[in-house]
């Protein structure tokens, strides 16, 4: 981890450490979130984030630019994003907050809309998880997708080397876990898991009191089906949120079709 003074010197202003994720450290610089990429070549990063510049949507964090910065005598790729104040889904859940039922539609619509915008721009996120879903101004109805499109840089070897990334596995679609081709449906799966988690506080494929032992068990639980949602959740939404976490990709539906279904409710 870099020293705050070094980061501040590199970027010309006071910074606040936000955290370390799959690809590097994130610092706040005014109204920007600076992600310093630890390990990838500039060419690869530039290639992977090329599509993000095409996305302009209130539920997707805005990529401001791609730079280079010298830190500790080494050049690093830097991604500049807008800073989304209000924390993320992970911190909300850790503090005991759950998604209220009255905000469910707005939260789900916001996430799906953001994913739809990414997909329309030809971008797959691949790493949607609680830490990558911001809540603008801590408002459930304004989810913001963070850490875009870098997950293609994520591979199994890096998961082994960086244990912090293991958390991503819990939100991966079965085809991702099996190392198969990843399509847009993987992001839909993640949205379904995140929404169910936000509602109940429990992972849909880890029944309360029965922690998962390994990926194989996770895969078996996905095949079996998720833990039921509370009956207070209206049946059409329960059906949609169950479909979205189907092991069969096509049954999850596209972001567009899920949005149509939500809009009809």
């Amino acid at each position: 981890m870099f020293h705050a003074d070094d980061v501040a010197a590199a970027f010309g202003g006071p910074v606040t450490y936000l955290g370390t994720g799959s690809f590097g450290e994130t610092w706040r610089l005014g109204e920007q979130a600076i992600k310093i990429i630890h390990r990838e070549s500039s060419e690869r990063v530039a290639r992977e984030v090329e599509g993000l510049g095409r996305v302009s949507h209130p539920n997707v964090v805005h990529l401001l630019g791609v730079d280079q910065a010298a830190l500790a005598g080494t050049d690093f790729q830097v991604l500049r994003f807008e800073f989304v104040a209000g924390g993320d889904l992970e911190t909300a859940l850790d503090s005991g907050r759950l998604l209220p039922l009255e905000d469910l539609l707005a939260f789900l619509t916001g996430l799906l809309s953001g994913v739809a915008a990414l997909h329309d721009a030809g971008v797959l996120h691949r790493d949607l998880k609680p830490g990558n879903v911001g809540l603008r101004s801590s408002v459930w109805a304004e989810p913001v997708i963070l850490d875009l499109g870098l997950a293609r840089l994520l591979d199994m070897s890096s998961i082994t080397a960086y244990p912090a990334q293991v958390g991503s596995l819990m939100y991966m679609a079965p085809e991702q876990l099996l190392g198969r081709r990843v399509r847009k449906a993987a992001d839909i799966f993640a949205v379904g898991v995140l929404t169910r988690l936000a509602l109940t506080g429990h992972h849909p494929f880890e029944p309360p009191g029965r922690p998962l032992q390994d990926i194989s068990q996770l895969l078996r639980n996905i095949e079996t089906g998720p833990v039921d949602l509370p009956l207070e959740v209206p049946e059409p939404l329960r059906a949609l949120l169950t479909r979205m976490v189907s092991p069969a990709e096509h049954r999850r539906g596209s972001a567009a079709s899920c949005l149509r279904e939500v809009a009809s409710l």
Partner: protein
């Protein structure tokens, strides 16, 4: 031969002895090429005669008897409808009179012609929609495949169907096999079908040399005439972008307004690579389409793609993922069905079709099921947008054939003429149809009141060409019933029609239908719709 009120029923062609399985009858109107094993209306695909087996013959194309004249439908002014693709209403399709089916220039049309201005009344047909409009979510499209025989009947039948059913919202299309006739002939034919919103020049990837199915195969002259056929990549080899563009441009030159990817049969032994290859063809197509052209992802599959869960899931995942194309044109090879004009009886295949159609509806994609006939019509219940049919067996189903060998020189059994009977949702022999028509009250076995059947009743002998037109009209009538219903009620409607057909069959007097023509599919349909 059977008789109807003293009228002899026979094929209007008279008798034409076949020389043997390898010989081809020449037709005055056909070119000197072999045009393949196209079946035409009213003739069995092949059947056993006693203990002997018979080979498939090869039938002449366009067997239109020049001595048969259409009875003019009306002596009054022509009924016209605008063709939407002209945008300004300058092109009109003639829906009645001697010029029925043709396109006329609105500016120069005769003063006696009656233009259509009111789309609301049943008597006034709606304009012929653009291809994009016909394929919009919720619309119903019936595509008629150009048959080998009686192809000249199609424009008139389509015009008649448009005239009578467009008020329901039904759209019509025409599909012609591009390699068999070439670009110029196909373009002329597609242009002649003025009532068709959708015009497809099918590249027939599955018929190209080396394809997994290659049925019906292209002849040497056809292959030579179609550049992309001669240049087709070998099985298992990827197609170049240039070759894909060649296929697309050939369709364009043939007058298509819906352009397809080549449609080579996907090898289920290598699904990932095959779907990738198909995806690359799609990317080339999307890059190539211009203006009002509508791109369609054309996939050709053996039935196991819809039956095997792993294959099916992989296929459907890819279909949903490619959200840059709205039209799926999916042709499925059915297993052998021994009954003439029989529907597939494989429950698993029907379930595969069901899930495919439901996925298409969920994703607001237009699923077109070419060469599926009544089974394609059934799929409208689950959300398919359209299906392909026609007057012949080949146009109504694309399936593995029962190979029957003959003794050279053996006479072929007499052809059995068949009639599309929508009350039974089935095609039965003309003899059975006439028997039912004469012995059962109209409330039980409704008479068809279409203009072609009216002409048929007044004809001295049974005319297969009129029945070919009736078959198209009858399918359009069934499709119009569906089109008239809101999407959410189509399932219930089709379920009711299937139940009614099954009930009718159950009420028929014993031995009304030959055992070979019982509608076995109805029970399975009723079960899957339950």
């Amino acid at each position: 031969m059977s008789s109807r009120g003293g009228i002899a029923v026979s094929d209007s062609r008279g008798s034409h002895p076949l020389e043997g399985p390898d010989d081809v009858l020449a037709s005055e109107t056909a070119s000197d090429e072999d045009l393949g094993n196209e079946e035409f209306a009213g003739v069995d695909e092949g059947f056993a005669y006693g203990d002997e087996e018979f080979a498939y013959g090869e039938f002449p194309e366009d067997w239109d008897d020049p001595d048969v004249q259409d009875v003019p439908e009306s002596e009054g002014p022509d009924l016209l409808a605008p063709v939407a693709d002209a945008g300004d209403g300058s092109r009109l399709v003639v829906l009645s009179g001697p010029r029925v089916g043709t396109i006329v220039d609105g500016a120069s049309s005769e003063s006696s012609a009656q233009s259509v201005t009111s789309p609301s009344a049943r008597l006034f047909p709606r304009p012929v929609a653009t291809a994009a409009a016909a394929l919009a979510p919720g619309e119903v499209l019936m595509v008629v495949h150009r048959p080998g025989t009686y192809a000249a009947r199609l424009p008139h039948a389509l015009a008649r169907a448009h005239s009578d059913f467009s008020y329901t919202g039904l759209h019509l299309g025409v599909s012609a096999n591009l390699p068999r006739r070439g670009e110029a002939d196909t373009a002329s034919y597609l242009a002649s079908c003025g009532a068709a919103s959708v015009r497809i020049a099918d590249p027939e990837g599955y018929a190209l040399p080396g394809d997994l199915v290659e049925d019906p195969p292209l002849t040497t002259p056809q292959t030579a005439k179609t550049p992309y056929a001669a240049d087709a990549p070998a099985v298992g080899m990827p197609a170049s972008a240039d070759w894909n563009r060649q296929v697309i441009r050939s369709q364009r030159a043939a007058g298509a307004n819906v352009l397809l990817t080549p449609g080579r049969t996907l090898d289920h032994n290598n699904p990932t690579a095959e779907l990738d290859e198909a995806g690359q063809s799609l990317t080339v197509l999307l890059d190539e389409v211009t203006g009002t052209e509508v791109p369609a992802w054309n996939l050709t599959l053996r039935a196991n793609w819809l039956i095997d869960p792993s294959l099916r899931n992989q296929l459907f995942a890819e279909l949903v993922d490619r959200d840059d194309v709205l039209v799926w044109h999916i042709r499925v090879r059915w297993p052998v069905n021994s009954k003439p004009y029989g529907q597939t009886l494989q429950t698993q295949l029907l379930e595969g079709y069901q899930e495919l159609a439901e996925t298409a509806r969920q994703e607001d994609r237009a699923l077109l099921l070419p060469n599926t006939g009544l089974t394609g019509w059934l799929c409208l219940a689950w959300g398919a947008a359209g299906f392909g049919t026609g007057p012949s067996q080949a146009t109504q189903a694309w399936k593995d054939k029962q190979i029957m060998r003959s003794k050279k020189g053996s006479p072929r059994p007499p052809a059995v003429q068949r009639h599309h009977a929508s009350p039974l949702l089935h095609t039965i022999s003309v003899a059975s149809h006439l028997n039912l028509d004469q012995t059962l009250p109209d409330t039980t076995y409704p008479s068809c009141g279409c203009t072609f059947c009216e002409q048929q009743r007044n004809a001295p002998t049974w005319l297969s060409e009129l029945d070919a037109s009736h078959a198209i009209y009858d399918m359009a009538r069934l499709s119009a019933l569906v089109a008239a219903e809101p999407r959410q009620r189509r399932f219930a409607l089709i379920r009711r029609l299937v139940a009614e057909a099954e009930a009718l069959h159950d009420r028929l007097p014993a031995a009304s239908l030959d055992v070979k023509e019982t509608p076995d599919h109805l029970q399975g349909w009723a079960a899957i719709l339950a």
